[in-house]
Symmetry: C2
Subunit: 163 residues, 2 copies
Amino acid sequence: MTSDSMMEAGAPALRYLDDLQPGDRFTSPEHELDEAQIKAFALQFDPQPFHLDHEAAKGTLFGGLAASGWHTAALTMRLLVKGGAPLAGGIIGAGGEIAWPKPTRPGDVLHVESKIVSVTPSKSRPDRGMVVVSSTTLNQHGDVLQQSTFKLVVPRRAASPAP
Amino acid sequence: MTSDSMMEAGAPALRYLDDLQPGDRFTSPEHELDEAQIKAFALQFDPQPFHLDHEAAKGTLFGGLAASGWHTAALTMRLLVKGGAPLAGGIIGAGGEIAWPKPTRPGDVLHVESKIVSVTPSKSRPDRGMVVVSSTTLNQHGDVLQQSTFKLVVPRRAASPAP
């Protein structure tokens, strides 16, 4: 289920459920966001004036052009896939919580810091378990742009054959 | 802060905080998702095999090509903006919860059904308040693809001048 194509040069080894402990931390690579990316995402998925136009955004709660929260969320996912959450089987979320304490702006350089909160083997499915991960998306100034806590399905290492 | 450009032919009137009550319901237009859209989103934001390739997806938890949950979330936002949540001032989320009970598949036709859960005027800011909205994203078979509950900032109607 893992793919060599997900392993990049210098990428950390992929963790199975058995390899993870509460408190484990991971840091993603960076992504630099510009105005063109913000507007392109907004046009497709969140076409509201404060995500599309500098002038129109000035008179809104945002006070200037800001990325859609869903753009910040999608970029956070990209950064987790690109090394920020090195999980065997990929990153498969069942659900969770998300908040955007500050707007994401043109010129922000994003990275994601994640921490394993809990690791729970499945009682009914011996091949997998549930991991709760808390991820904080920050810009280059240390501003928290997104805070999320998600449940992920993570496979176990194949069981040893019975003796 | 509202924009005429958000009003489309037949679009419902935009609601201020004062117009909303718990239990109010809204239904979005539809969006038809195809394989090309799923792969394009995945390439940019969630480049994992089960979102990019039919064959690679077969051996995974998804059992076949599935959209990124963040793609479902982004399309849900699009549908809310396109009439599924007719709020004055736009749709500005502070945070919330989200879950994906079933994968979104190529050929799914999505729409969003939303319900106002609570309406709370701000104590410190008389020009606005917080509305909690529960939104369910369904396909043409009635399968629930996403369930979310988010806090939104909604402006009040301008207060009448003091007598």
